[in-house]
Symmetry: C2
Subunit: 548 residues, 2 copies
């Protein structure tokens, strides 16, 4: 029998991380992440993995193991559990971040959440799973060592190496080395920063620059960071304590995470330091630290609304020092830039990645990836968690580190890999496409709808209503044309009138009883032809036929 590795997301494209190991039709699932929609997915709220493979009747899903609490690893869990209510295993904080999501989806009560600690081992069918502490931009993150009948599979999770992090634990290289010595069949290794030379740096590198900001800021300090970066938030709260500033938290995700992290002991906030958002303006400016969500410039986030002066609680003022403690994710640059422009325009001083050292990455750079590889010493290697370019660069690190070419596979979502203690080979392709979440709908938006939305966005639409006598073919009402998203009304009237006359003329050629489909097509073509000639645009033309 062969061990099956099944990537369901996160390979060849970032986000919606999810994969599975299968032995004898028994399946262990790791992570259930979501992806935020790309620009070619208009109107889509979230993108989740396709789990139809897991729902097959011949498969027995034993449980889902979560590595850490980032959206791209846990965000799809509510949607998955609704269709596949299996036990969920994760660390204390990870489950703490999962719970509010399940509650929002009203499935917390039915969910079977099982907390595991770093170092714990538990058996799931043929799999023995161990969580190993890793350092990442969220506390309580884990790598996994999974003992299978074919050998041990190690998944790095999202990780970096930091020997002496100011908060939280370092990556447990000692344990990984021990597992490595005992023999590892396969390493699945985080590729996010495989293009980047050197080392990702330490949270410790930020103590000095943040300290300087706290020392010198003349008025309010505002910091936007990822809502789940609890260590960063701890650093800021510690500085606030030292410099005697009160702390206000703005943004729902940040408030939820701060509360959860405090309750679970991952964040220490001195008594009486927190001030509710509503009372933000009662704090002396030079005594205030305002923590905000929105480091990616998301238009509805606290930071964006604070920056464009539309936030109900407080807005940017002359003298505020604002730190954007994150790097823009590709695609978000223009949103972040817009936020920075707004902050400057209204008199804020801004610290951001182009001009100041205010962020370090949570993902290993090349040197760290090398150390992980040398520590785990796997027989086979699959780069995971990245776009193709990142997977490729990670595979090159592995090749340079002594992995033989035939022992390495770069695969993309849905490509099954088969393993025995001595061999690695490609299996079949399984479904691993996108499932779109739009409003309450899951999977009811697919390619046809997106194609229509894209066309509607580009040139708008024109509706042609026609009332035809069913027996004589005589025009009884219309054609009437109206448009939306096409041209401003002052300009469209003439074009639409010409199109209307073209429809009348073309319909006049029919004799006797008209075929509705042909009438619709004729009207459609006449309108499209006139509009293209006059404007070189292609709005969606929709003929509506009424029978008299």
């Amino acid at each position: 029998m062969k061990l099956r590795y099944i990537p369901l997301g996160g390979l060849g494209e970032v986000g919606r991380n999810m994969w599975a190991l299968e032995w004898d039709d028994q399946v262990l699932v790791v992570d259930s992440g979501l992806m935020f929609p790309r620009e070619d997915m208009p109107g889509v709220d979230l993108v989740i993995p396709d789990i139809s493979y897991l729902l097959r009747k011949d498969k027995k899903v034993l449980g889902i193991v979560l590595t850490h609490g980032h959206e791209d690893h846990i965000g799809a869990l509510p949607f998955v559990l609704k269709r596949l209510n299996v036990p969920v295993y994760g660390s204390r904080l990870t489950l703490g971040l999962v719970k509010p999501k399940l509650k929002e989806h009203r499935i917390l009560r039915e969910a079977d959440l099982r907390e595991v600690r770093m170092g714990d081992r538990f058996q799931l069918g043929p799999f023995r799973v161990e969580l190993i502490a890793v350092c990442h931009s969220i506390p309580d993150a884990a790598a996994l060592a999974i003992k299978t009948p074919a050998g041990v599979v190690v998944y790095t999770g999202d990780f970096k190496l930091d020997d002496d992090p100011p908060w939280g634990r370092p990556t447990d290289l000692a344990r990984l080395a021990q597992i490595g010595r005992e023999g590892v069949l396969l390493l699945l290794s985080d590729s996010t920063n495989a293009e980047r030379e050197g080392h990702s740096g330490s949270e410790r590198d930020l103590i000095e620059p943040f300290g300087r900001i706290f020392r010198d800021a003349p008025s309010r300090i505002v910091v936007a960071s990822f809502a789940s970066n609890i260590h960063r938030i701890q650093q800021l709260i510690t500085l606030a304590e030292e410099f005697e500033r009160r702390v206000v938290v703005a943004g729902r995700s940040l408030q939820t995470n701060v509360k959860t992290a405090q309750e679970l002991g991952f964040l220490r906030v001195p008594q009486g330091m927190m001030v509710p958002l509503k009372q933000v303006d009662s704090v002396t400016p030079a005594r205030l630290l305002l923590l905000m969500a929105g480091s990616q410039g998301e238009p509805m986030s606290s930071l964006s609304r604070y920056a464009n002066r539309s936030h109900p609680a407080t807005v940017v003022r002359e003298g505020d020092w604002v730190v954007i403690s994150a790097t823009p994710i590709p695609g978000n640059e223009t949103l972040v830039n817009r936020t920075i422009n707004n902050l400057y325009k209204h008199g804020g001083e801004v610290f951001y990645s182009t001009t100041a050292k205010v962020h370090v990455s949570g993902h290993a750079y090349r040197d760290e990836i090398k150390v992980m590889l040398e520590t785990v010493k796997p027989r086979f290697f699959i780069p995971v968690h990245g776009e193709y370019r990142q997977l490729l660069h990670n595979s090159r690190i592995a090749l340079a580190g002594g992995i033989r070419k035939e022992n390495l596979r770069i695969v993309e979502d849905g490509q099954v890999v088969l393993l025995t203690p001595e061999s690695i080979e490609l299996g079949e392709q399984v479904p691993a496409g996108y499932v779109f979440v739009d409003g309450l709908g899951i999977g009811d938006v697919e390619q046809v709808v997106l194609r229509d939305r894209t066309q509607l966005a580009a040139d708008g639409m024109v509706i042609v209503t026609i009332g035809l006598d069913r027996s004589s073919g005589e025009l009884r009402s219309g054609p009437e044309l109206i448009s939306r998203g096409f041209m401003e009304e002052a300009y469209s009237a003439e074009v639409l009138e010409e199109a209307r006359r073209a429809v009348v003329a073309d319909l006049a050629r029919f004799q006797g009883e008209p075929e509705p489909a042909l009438v619709r097509e004729t009207a459609h073509d006449a309108v499209q032809r006139v509009i293209w000639r006059r404007t070189k645009r292609q709005p969606m033309v929709i003929p509506m036929l009424t029978d008299w």
Copy 2:
């Protein structure tokens, strides 16, 4: 009388550079650039400056002076000249790049293009204009010194400092220093890289890395760069000559520019080196350099199509070495990343800004901006060409360089600035908004159309057709509902049927002769209500009423 500086574009936002000086209602215009649409301008092809101020009856526009041939400085010229046919002044290459555009718009014959050389001075009404050579990422680029009755205005244009560029001229600091010594009233200074410490580097820095690529490439070399970066292209052609590779050019813009630059003596291509694109596969792979447009990952560009294997002439193959010799403009990162992924997937080796030194910027970094300031020694200072954050950083460089705070203004598009030899102050606001070009239309797409397009893109639309008897109010046909871009048909049927029943029920409440507007509103609200409750989506709902 006061000298009026009128920014019509390029301040507070990148692109569509255009500004004017005015004395006694006589106006000198500088540049006529376009901007590529932002993601919140769906379906818009181009964004050009609003020139309604220049079209005012009391203004006499003397001419347009162009600084260099980049789209963001010349791209709107055809649209401007159609409404304002005044003489256009520019350097040889700049006008050479303008001509094909005017030809395409069929206005080349009427256009009054006047070539000027670096160092030439010419009088336009009260203005005496001199072009001064600057180094930039396009040859034959100029700064301007404009002698006005109030004093001399110096515009840096887009510039960098490179004492010894391998091709083209260095920035003429000697002449700028001389003008500086004679006294400069106002400096308008390029802010693009004002956030960046140090120096932008030299085209010379690329000789070594490009040389290594040519030395080591086992098969075809493909380089994508900006189509107007003639010096970069010259460097590559020189290397191709040295390493005995033939050259093929792919991409219309690149082909046009290479042809123009050759004809005008800005690009030297050895006889017999060029091979037509159609014959690209007849060249031995190790003897080929393929120059391509599309360094920003534009989906229809040669590079994108070569990378996703849809280009009709040639596609990426195992062993191709591909250089993306540009940095992604903010907003284009995901497109560029997609292209890189495709290249790697199909076996290409890729060199890009994250992993290799294959590009230097054409815009001055902080140290160069400082040198320009110290050379020109202006009394007043206005940072130009940049988003607000960049303007602000440039103004800080000026403050640090000795410009007094009251002698400096950060202004945005449309904000007139008034100058005398002794004073600078803000004047009124003039129109300087967006004008959108969509297909053949100019200005017929504005906020209403964009808002509709945005809504259509997000959730699609639902059309409700109703035939009502005008006198009795009786329903004679429909309601019939159809949707586009809303939900896949298999899912929408049930929701639309429920909405239809809601319309029938709500209309049944009317008695007697119905008011059409009220019928429409009732149908609209019933459909919207049901859809929101069932899906939490807000498609555009369009009621169409037919009278019987």
